[in-house]
Subunit: 205 residues, 2 copies
């Protein structure tokens, strides 16, 4: 398998993290976002959305980080990471929606503002980040993992942007349970760290 | 099964639509959003996010419209609506992410501005709506349905907010293929219409 990625992307990191946890061998292809390689004709032929990550598995090309995680879990038969029962699958899906929604447009967007000057309203996306973090904190008062009594792709989908939320000026210190949950993910065998943004990138925003 | 819903919610409509297409008998419970019933202790006990829709199937309670659709497809064995193969499931998931992301924060948000004066930047969310509509239009140049050669829950997830995008001042007239696709969904046996917003609601914004 080949993963088109960039080390600073949380969407790409969540896939790298799952590949590590599943122990799936893969080749990394770095897409030079700074040169607009994700908008090149060759890349748009792989993913018309012009976004990383993209997974190539032989002739099969999958884009969207949640979709790639579903593909990997099913392809490897990892039903612990993505249950096949109606209730189990729905409990995971609930958080994949959060990852694509409130997380991408909350802490994810807040980090894009500080790293790349993305044209989001910083106050709005930081407020949205805290709103979802409060809900996650409450949820984790009763359980160690988001969607089950063990880790699933729901946890992996949320990890990257929650872990690096402070880079978008989203303070995690009020969220003890969230911090404990991040530590539990980081202690999993095969964990792949997510780089911290370079200081000069944060300083230039 | 009981579905907690409101007739003006696109997130609730997509579930009602799938229930109709699958022919699943259910009881509708209208949540009085105007009186804040979705923030009542009783409702928050069902869904701490304080959002409709919520499905109750005996003791099982599922919230998040995408999650409910996954639950219903799996519970009824509707593998045509949600394929179980790695590639088939991933192709559907890709659009569930779009529904929870660019659609909710694009045409969905634009409609919340006109209907309820929601504090989104109207220009930003309308621009985001057109960006995703252009991608959907291009995608539908090569196929009739979003994720397969037949309808899946991917199509149902996107239908409601795309169909009512004009209520948020998102003009659909440039998107011929999108309009054809909406018509194909509306022609499916068991289709459940999504109400148009009352004129007085649109006029008051």
């Amino acid at each position: 398998m080949k993963l088109h990625h960039h080390p600073i992307s949380g969407h790409a990191h969540r896939v790298r993290l799952l590949l590590g946890l599943l122990g799936v061998k893969h080749e990394l292809i770095e897409v030079d976002l700074s040169k607009g390689a994700h908008k090149s004709p060759a890349f748009l032929a792989l993913n018309p959305f012009g976004q990383i990550p993209v997974l190539e598995d032989g002739d099969i090309v999958i884009s969207d980080s949640n979709a790639i995680m579903v593909y990997l879990a099913k392809k490897t038969g990892a039903t612990d990471w993505l249950p096949e029962t109606p209730e189990g699958a729905a409990r995971v899906q609930r958080w994949l929606s959060v990852a694509a929604g409130q997380i991408a447009f909350g802490p994810g967007a807040a980090r894009l503002v500080t790293l790349f000057g993305a044209p989001f309203n910083a106050d709005e996306v930081i407020e949205r980040a805290h709103a979802i973090l409060r809900l996650i904190e409450d949820h984790l008062k009763n359980q160690n993992w988001l969607a089950s009594d063990h880790p699933t792709i729901a946890d992996i989908a949320l990890y990257s942007y929650v872990a690096r939320a402070p880079e978008g000026n989203v303070d995690l210190s009020p969220y003890d349970k969230v911090q404990d949950w991040l530590s539990r993910i980081e202690a999993l065998p095969g964990f792949v760290p997510f780089m911290h943004a370079p200081a000069e990138l944060l300083a230039s925003a």
